[in-house]
């Protein structure tokens, strides 16, 4: 429902404002920016500028010194101030010279085409914004950035490079991504694991309509190859809430075009239970395989995602 989204957006905005994050990280605002490169720059620069004005002083500007706490980490490096501000556990790490390879893995299956609100930001758009911003952030740190996009199969692959003009290629390929086809997430991960010759950070941006069991194998494959994996689970708020007001709907599958008439009032409760269960299963799977997992909805600003990336980028 619009007031709930607005409420969430406002809550996110309030949260962002509390941390001094500018509003231009709002996806709806970003959607108005035509150029991904420009968007990426604006997002990253704005994000970093906001960080300067944040109460989190003393940080390295790279902000790779923070990563999410995992059970077993040394509590001496727990940033208690950050905990007080965000209610989240972060371990402060010193900056390391990585020159890492960052591979952006973007899901372009048909389901990524979905936007719950008419005229709203689709999941793919959000993924594009996020991927662009992360690419810019990584490039800013002199990391090599690569891009792989997949749907039914891997259709876009830009090897990770760190050279002049390469980012333009990345932005260009990102901006031309279109959603379509079925989801073959696990296969794409396996393929990526096989393709990447150098260890690095794999950032997976998807709506994760895949069974956690199959993903577990793919994650294990990537981890076995020595990659750090960060999973951004992008969902539309409606996919989470299933807050349709219609008494009767004819739902059409984004990928298979299968149609299913439903009574939203009847289905909503059960649907939410299953989505929650799926998310929890994904969390557990990611946690078990040392994959950083973040669930983001397309109505939320990018700061959390960026923040999470930075903390991963800083390494363990």
């Amino acid at each position: 429902m619009w007031w709930r989204r607005d409420k969430k957006a406002k809550a996110a905005e309030a949260e962002s404002s509390a941390r001094g994050v500018p509003r231009f990280l709002d996806p709806e605002v970003l959607a108005r920016i035509g150029s991904l490169e420009l968007l990426a720059r604006a997002v990253v620069e704005g994000f970093i500028a906001g960080l300067h004005r944040s109460p989190f002083t003393g940080f390295s500007t790279e902000f790779t010194e923070y990563r999410q706490y995992h059970p077993g980490d040394d509590l001496r490096y727990l940033d208690w101030r950050l905990l007080g501000r965000t209610d989240r556990f972060f371990i402060k790490k010193y900056r390391a010279d990585t020159n890492a390879q960052v591979t952006l893995l973007v899901d372009t299956s048909g389901s990524m085409r979905y936007a719950g609100a008419e005229g709203g930001v689709t999941k793919l758009q959000y993924a594009q914004f996020l991927a662009a911003a992360l690419a810019h952030l990584a490039a800013r740190q002199q990391d090599a950035v690569g891009l792989t996009a997949f749907g039914r199969e891997v259709h876009t692959h830009v090897p990770a490079l760190n050279r002049t003009g390469h980012m333009r290629t990345i932005y260009g390929r990102l901006s031309t991504l279109e959603a379509g086809g079925e989801t073959r997430l696990a296969e794409a991960l396996h393929l990526t694991a096989d393709r990447l010759t150098r260890r690095g950070v794999v950032v997976l941006i998807s709506d994760f309509y895949e069974s956690p069991e199959r993903l577990a194998g793919a994650f294990q494959h990537l981890r076995f190859r020595g990659h750090d994996v960060i999973a951004f689970h992008v969902l539309d708020p409606r996919e989470v809430e299933f807050d349709f007001e219609d008494s009767l709907l004819l739902l059409e599958d984004s990928e298979t075009a299968e149609q299913l008439p439903v009574l939203p009032a009847v289905v909503a409760g059960g649907y939410r239970q299953r989505v929650n269960a799926h998310v929890e299963a994904l969390r557990r799977t990611c946690s078990a395989n040392h994959v950083d997992y973040e669930l983001v909805t397309t109505d939320r600003p990018l700061d959390f995602a960026l923040f999470s990336f930075l903390s991963r980028r800083a390494g363990r």
Binding site: Y209, E239, V240, E255, V262, V267, A268, G269, V279
Partner: protein, 685 residues
């Protein structure tokens, strides 16, 4: 099933609304692309089905409740098949057919029979039907039967009569049929008639049909003209003893119309010969009396008729009556003188005309043969002073054998001797003779003015201009009737029956010895009335149709054979106690009485009021006989079937329908409350 208010069925169209809405919304379900059908499909189908089923149940409850409300407003009722299943026993119907004189109007009775036939045809196959025809009385044409052919055959034999109308008798007859047949189940009476007001006296009606009997009226004369003029009555002395009829024949002619009628010609016929004509003009609703007098009669019974030449209902335009010219009987006056001189005034008064039924002879008591008394019809003992002996015994025998006796007890009558001589037949015992002082008189008082003896005077109190100087004080015997008294209360004129005879006793003189009565103007009419009263045979000039009258036996002692006015020989006649014939006239005209020695006639006429065709108030009629039962109405059963209103009022199916609808709506409310959407369970992000 039928409906009292079928137009409410249009409300059923409202049932389509929720269904249409359901279908329209279903076909217009919004198509939405959704990526997570994977999870939607996992929601158990039974949840959807349960909700779907629950919604369908709600729809059904609402539709059914609406259906029941609509049906309740249409006020449904179940017709014959359902009624038969509900009730105990089958329905019994009595069809009452008016066969009175008024139904002889052109084509009316045939129409009534057609309606009865139609009613029979409309009855249920198991319905028991009886047929009853009526006029003043009723006749059961057919007992209860389910055989329609037998009913129709009986109906075909019903003929219209000449009787007047009596609806109360007819309904009593119908009620008796129900009672005798011990009918269970629904009962109804269908009256097929012209419903004329003269057939029902609302002021005297006391009978009411039982509450479980429905009454319906089928008027076959609606719209027919009601104008009619009739000869309704004739007043005449049935027997005369002279050639000229000096009394008046008073003819009553009535106009039953609301407009002026006439002029009509009224013909007076004697023995089919017109002797006089009068022209009659009648104002609206007027009854006029036309008199005829001073006409000659032949000997024996003269057949007289009044014929009104009116171009309307014919049966009441002719009025029949008989005038008998009889030979006077012999009467004997016995007085105390050897020459009969004491009876001068009496004899003069009796001989002074007046058409008396006797010829008189005067004899002294000593000159009378006791055995010759039987040759007379009337004996007058005019202060004869009879002592016990053969004559007195002869007088007693004469009276007891049926003779008539007038006793005048004057100064020659010794009380003790009188009592011994005529004690068996005299109406009073004499006590003593009372001779008043010179100049004193006593008058007769306490007259029974209603008695035929005094009808010519028709006044009570003192006998005018009669002075009595002496009288016999007496005591009336048990069973005697005192017709007048003297001022001291002593009976003056006493009457009693004795054996087959009758005696009038005057306790003073009919001569000048003890009163100046003979000089009084009342003397002549008084003595003539006394003689007429005892001696004149009561002869009716005519009889009303439907009333029984006695026809005397012939001289040979046998009752006569009777031919009806239409010429048929009357069979199955009834005999009265004394062997006379008891005849009930069923058709107007002259009944011919065939005796061995000759023939006589008896005139029978229809009831004059039957010619008044004005209609009764059907609402009042129904209310009077049904006690105001709302289920009885003139409009009901026009086709001989229980009306829809009656059936519905009895079944009252609407209220259980409404009650059921209320219960369904209550159930729908409870069920609808349980199908509210469950609140969203929020997800943590």
């Amino acid at each position: 099933m039928s409906f009292l208010n079928p137009f409410f069925l249009l409300g059923l169209a409202a049932l389509a609304a929720p269904v249409l809405v359901h279908l329209v919304r279903r076909t217009r379900a919004r198509q939405v692309e959704f990526p997570a059908l994977y999870f939607v499909r996992q929601v158990p189908q039974r949840t959807i089905r349960r909700r779907t089923l629950r919604d369908l149940l709600l729809l059904a409850l609402r539709c059914l409740a609406l259906l029941l409300v609509v049906f309740a407003f249409t006020r449904p009722y179940f017709t014959s098949a359902g009624r038969a299943a509900e009730r105990e026993g089958v329905r019994s119907t009595v069809i009452v057919l008016d066969a009175s004189l008024s139904m002889r109007r052109a084509g009316l009775f045939e129409e009534a029979k057609r309606r009865v036939d139609a009613l029979v045809g409309e009855t249920a196959p198991d319905e028991r039907v009886a047929l009853l025809s009526f006029g003043e009385g009723y006749e059961v044409v057919s007992q209860f039967t389910t055989d329609r052919n037998a009913l129709r055959a009986a109906l075909a034999g019903v003929k219209v009569g000449f009787e007047a109308t009596d609806y109360e008798q007819a309904l009593r007859g119908a009620e008796a049929l129900f009672r005798e047949s011990k009918a269970s189940g629904a009962k109804r009476v269908l009256v097929v008639s012209d419903f004329q007001a003269t057939g029902w006296d609302a002021g005297r009606a006391t009978f009411r049909l039982p509450s479980d009997v429905r009454l319906a009226l089928i008027d076959v004369a609606a719209g027919r003209p009601e104008s009619n003029a009739a000869v309704t009555n004739v007043e005449a002395r049935g027997a005369v003893y002279g050639q000229k009829y000096t009394d008046k024949v008073a003819v009553h002619v009535a106009n039953f119309a609301d407009e002026e009628r006439g002029p009509f010609t009224l013909d007076f016929q004697i023995n089919e010969q017109t002797v006089e004509k009068r022209e009659v003009r009648l104002a609206p609703r007027e009854e006029k009396v036309v008199e005829f007098t001073d006409f000659n009669l032949g000997e024996g019974t003269n057949r007289c008729a009044l014929r009104l030449r009116a171009d309307d209902f014919a049966p009441d335009n002719d009025f029949y009556f008989t005038l008998r010219r009889e030979s006077p009987a012999k009467a004997l006056i016995i007085d105390g003188s050897a020459r009969g001189g004491d009876s001068f005034y009496l004899q003069s008064a009796l001989a002074a005309g007046g058409d008396l039924p006797f010829t008189f002879e005067v004899r002294g008591a000593g000159a009378v043969d006791p055995n010759a008394l039987a040759a007379h019809t009337l004996v007058i003992l005019n202060d004869a002073g009879l002592a016990p002996g053969p004559l007195s015994e002869g007088v007693e025998r004469f009276v007891e054998a049926g003779g008539r006796l007038i006793i005048a007890a004057g100064p020659h009558t010794r009380s003790e001797s009188f009592n011994r001589a005529l004690g068996r037949v005299a109406p009073a015992n004499l006590v003593e003779a009372v001779q008043l002082q010179r100049g004193e008189t006593v008058a007769m008082t306490a007259l029974k003015s209603s008695h035929p003896v005094f009808e010519v005077f028709n006044e009570g109190g003192r006998m005018p201009a009669a002075r009595v100087y002496g009288y016999q004080r007496g005591e009336a015997r048990e069973g005697a009737s005192v017709l007048a008294s003297f001022e001291d209360g002593s009976p003056a004129l006493v009457e009693a029956g004795a054996g087959a005879g009758r005696v009038l006793m005057y306790n003073s003189t009919l001569g000048m010895a003890w009163s100046d009565l003979p000089l009084s103007p009342v003397y002549l009419p008084l003595v003539q009335q006394m003689v007429r009263y005892l001696g004149e045979r009561e002869v009716s000039a005519w009889h009303r149709l439907g009333q029984a009258f006695v026809v005397e036996k012939g001289t040979e002692g046998q009752p006569p054979a009777v031919d009806t006015p239409s010429g048929a020989r009357l069979k199955n006649v009834n005999e009265a106690k004394g062997g006379e014939l008891l005849l009930t006239g069923r058709e107007p005209g002259f009944y011919r009485l065939r005796y061995a020695a000759g023939y006589d006639f008896a005139a029978v006429n229809v009831e004059g009021r039957e010619g008044d065709f004005a209609k009764l108030n059907e609402e009042e009629f129904l209310a009077a006989f049904t006690g105001g039962d709302p289920s009885a109405s003139p409009a009901a059963d026009a086709r001989g079937r229980e009306s829809g209103e009656e059936i519905e009022a009895r079944q009252r199916a609407w209220w259980p329908l409404l009650l059921a609808a209320l219960l369904l709506l209550a159930a729908e409310s409870v069920l609808a409350r349980r199908t509210k959407v469950v609140k969203t369970v929020g997800m943590k992000i």
